[in-house]
Symmetry: C2
Subunit: 291 residues, 2 copies
Amino acid sequence: MTLNSNMNILIVGLGVMGGSYARALTKKGFRIRCITKDAADIEYALGEGMIAEGAVEVRADWLAEADLIVFALYPKTFISWIKENGHLLKRGVTITDVSGVKSGVIASIQGLLPEGVEFISAHPMAGRERSGVAFSDDSVFTGANYIVVPTEKNTEKAILLCEALGRTLGFLRISRLDAEAHDRMIAFLSQLTHCIAVSLMNCNDAPDMEKYTGDSFRDLTRIAKINENMWSELFLLNKDALLAEMDAFAKEFADFRALLAAEDAEGMKEKMRASTAKRMKFDKPKGNTAL
Amino acid sequence: MTLNSNMNILIVGLGVMGGSYARALTKKGFRIRCITKDAADIEYALGEGMIAEGAVEVRADWLAEADLIVFALYPKTFISWIKENGHLLKRGVTITDVSGVKSGVIASIQGLLPEGVEFISAHPMAGRERSGVAFSDDSVFTGANYIVVPTEKNTEKAILLCEALGRTLGFLRISRLDAEAHDRMIAFLSQLTHCIAVSLMNCNDAPDMEKYTGDSFRDLTRIAKINENMWSELFLLNKDALLAEMDAFAKEFADFRALLAAEDAEGMKEKMRASTAKRMKFDKPKGNTAL
């Protein structure tokens, strides 16, 4: 099965990520159905022309007709949904997700699915600090990274379909990682950064700081505006990997503090030269001027 | 003396910040002279139409003719320059700077100046992670903060002139702080953020991370591309205040780690709600859509 616009795509969960998927796929000519819990979100999406049809109840007929289903739910909600409704999925359907952690999620979901339903997990690396369909925006996919997380249970056909979905959404770089490597990576690149941003925002209560701030503090704390329900869930689902990354960062930070306390200018400069060289690689590929 | 375009303004030091001042002031109709050490920078600035005249040697006649001199040098270079050339400054001239630390710098400079020369210090809160006049860009001042740092030796007239300079450059919010409050503030808002970015960039050596990264890691490490000479100098000049802020952050970060280790979801959510509420105030005032 290759991705084509005659394919019947269903999105389950119309939040900021499900909404962004809907916008991107509708623009590419797909006819998108959506199941979500809040009628107001369906109305909004219909009004925006983001989806063709929406429902607030689980429509067994839609599940049966779908070729590809995207679950854009929090990890635990995703697992509960499959427990309750997995038996309605038809043989031959491919399902994918957007979950920010993988090891526990994939194992749970693959253990719950009926025969003939294939789950290929993916992580679109383009979040927003705001939640809800009203903040959905498919332009965030442009130039961004998309990670497919196969297991030994996946077929190459489903992996290729998932990669094609990433390209169709507008992602630039599509990679594959196994679940454990993904979770270690995400603990460092995404979860640790959120822990740092929250702690930086909370560590000083002096008033009026916004009158004096420059862009560096704004950049480091953009994600301190955070969806506490989603992120606390993600942190707990990836606790060991995140704790390890937090410890590595705390050690590196303490090393830098020691250099400053010792007035070791050359030692600090070495750290800065290393960080400068390493950061060069992380600039967004051209086409996005914001970075 | 009020700021007007007949005023003779001299910029000493044509790097990224001096260059940005030159661009902004020339656009506003000022005739800008510049003294800097590298002839190529003068040529570049003349070619760009950023300055009217430039020199690589210290021109005593230009110093004598200036009404306002902006020193856009690193702090220690600024102090050395005044030691060597301060006697050439004429009575009645006002001088200002762009230094990122204040207590030590202001005391040193005010102690060195001849009678009748007034130094009013300022900190434009709009840096770039790249150095050199070729990266100068006055658009970074739009919507940004500008801090004037008077001492008891300053006249209200000079303070008002310095504030007018900030407004003319395009800064939105002009504030006053005393030197110690400035240095505590800058240790938190600017220096701590750079220590965090450098440490985050250096704390994990896994390869290929750029293939998987999202914007949060990019944002938190933008300033890990850092001018090591300038920043190590600034850190050492503000060591005690910076160490205190580093310790406060490290403690807050350790507290968050403890909540995660204890699987205290509610405790983590409380921290996140607090950071979300605090961060709201830091959005750039409208008119700048990048934040």
